[in-house]
């Protein structure tokens, strides 16, 4: 099972559900890595998988841990399925797809938090309510973290604390999440006692 149970945390920390087929004129599905399992489970739950596939567009990319299930996604036989080389190139394609999709489209995001968060951010920016976007976490728990000091975002953060890839500060990774930035917040851990940095612990895999 590639599903992750996150321990209870502050309200800001996103929680995820399970993708459920919903009636719609079109189905837009964005996934990375182990998210492929959730996409396959989604169609397995559909009352009429063939007609749902005929109205589906799947955008997929490999996960940050290298998991690549593209063959299984391609084998589903959706009306359109595209593999992107990376998350940024997937988001570039998503932006184009979003120009044409109509209200009545169901949106499903699955995989890692970095991918889901950034897709959600781009969809929200068009005025679509975030609470109507379905999300299911699968696979890696590495985090996308914004340094609250220099505002630089570091992708695929594994340890806490970690060193900001932009300004070099040592950052404590909070569960405080920004939907607008699609990132967790990283705060300088040795601001008061410069140099007193606890050894990094691998908290996200």
């Amino acid at each position: 099972m590639t599903k992750t149970e996150f321990p209870p945390s502050i309200r800001s920390r996103p929680v995820y559900g399970e993708l459920e087929p919903r009636a719609g004129i079109f189905h837009l599905i964005v996934a990375d890595g182990e998210g492929a399992d959730a996409v396959i489970a989604l169609f397995a739950k559909a009352a009429d998988a063939a007609s749902m596939l005929a109205k589906s567009h799947i955008l997929y990319t490999a996960g940050p841990n290298g998991t690549d299930e593209w063959d299984r996604i391609a084998a589903l036989g959706a009306a359109q399925a595209q593999k992107a080389a990376s998350v940024p190139t997937l988001l570039f394609r998503l932006a184009r797809v979003l120009q044409d999709v109509q209200m009545g489209t169901q949106i499903y995001l699955t995989g890692t938090e970095g991918l889901m968060g950034q897709a959600e951010r781009d969809i929200m920016a068009l005025g679509f309510p975030h609470s109507d976007i379905q999300k299911e976490h699968r696979g890696s728990t590495v985090r996308r973290v914004q340094c609250v000091h220099c505002k630089g975002v570091t992708e695929n953060v594994r340890t806490d604390p970690f060193q900001c890839s932009h300004c070099g500060l040592h950052l404590f990774v909070r569960d405080h999440y920004s939907r607008r930035l699609a990132a967790f917040q990283g705060v300088n851990i040795d601001a008061e006692d410069r140099g007193q940095v606890p050894p990094p612990v691998e908290r996200f895999r």
């Binding site: 109509q102 209200m103 109507d132």
Partner: protein
Amino acid sequence: MSGGPKLNVRVAEVVKVNDLITRFRFVARDGGLLPAFSGGAHTVVEMDDNGTRRLNPYSLMSDPEDRTGYEISVRRDDAGRGGSLYMHRHVRPGMDMVLSHPVNLFPLDNRARKHLFIAGGIGITPFLAMTRQLARFGGRFELHYATRNPALCAYGDSLKAAHGDRVHLYFDEQGDTLPLADLLSRQPLGTHLYCCGPKGMLNWVRSAAATAGWATHAVHFEEFTAPATGAPFAVTLERSGKTLTVGSTQSLLEAMEAAGVDAPYLCRGGACGQCETDVVRCDGRIDHRDHWLTPEDMATNTKIMPCVSRFEGRTLVIDR
């Protein structure tokens, strides 16, 4: 005092719009500016109808940028509880009246890429303010407005003149039907839908939007409805130590107010949640007519919204 601070106004204009609808303009008695409001807001108009105090909510239809006055349009309801008849028969220019501050339970979601408005009959009023607001901000919208016939299509001509192709009119008696399913199927992602009209239209739009797979939070309804009439019933107010009878054209909230009980309220139409009251004992059936309580609260009869809901049965005791 319940309902918040009041606005002391004077009726500046009374204009008959058509056979059913009359427009009223209110200005501040001190000649100053009225509080700002946003499209979709309503005000509660206080009326003294021969000793009966009526407080009816009406959508503000004037330009939100115009703070020199507020305008409302009132449709005469001959079978209603009497508020609209009072407005039509007794309200004249120069009269002093009292309004609540504007409250908006039907605001524009300004994150939307596009706004799709669906109006039926007098339900056009909030959209008059919203379209003016959007025209100033450059917001993208489409208005679809259904009425019985051109004579009853209040403000149809002025809307057409102001917004041209963005306004679509439909006349039931000419067999024009608002092409709802078609409209819902060709809106860009990020469109928000707003509907104000008779109950049948609200239900129609609600179910069509669900069938079309529209995002729940992108669909907005003007929910408040004038309290309907019903059989008289008795109620005991535990904290006040009073037992009252609610008349057939009176709401429970109005009956409490008439008995000198200061009960909370805001919209007086079952939408805002301000008047929510705990039920201490209920031997009978509460006729829940609000849009506020959860289905669980309604089923267990543990709460009541006195502004619209009624009761049938032996005993009702509420915590007021």
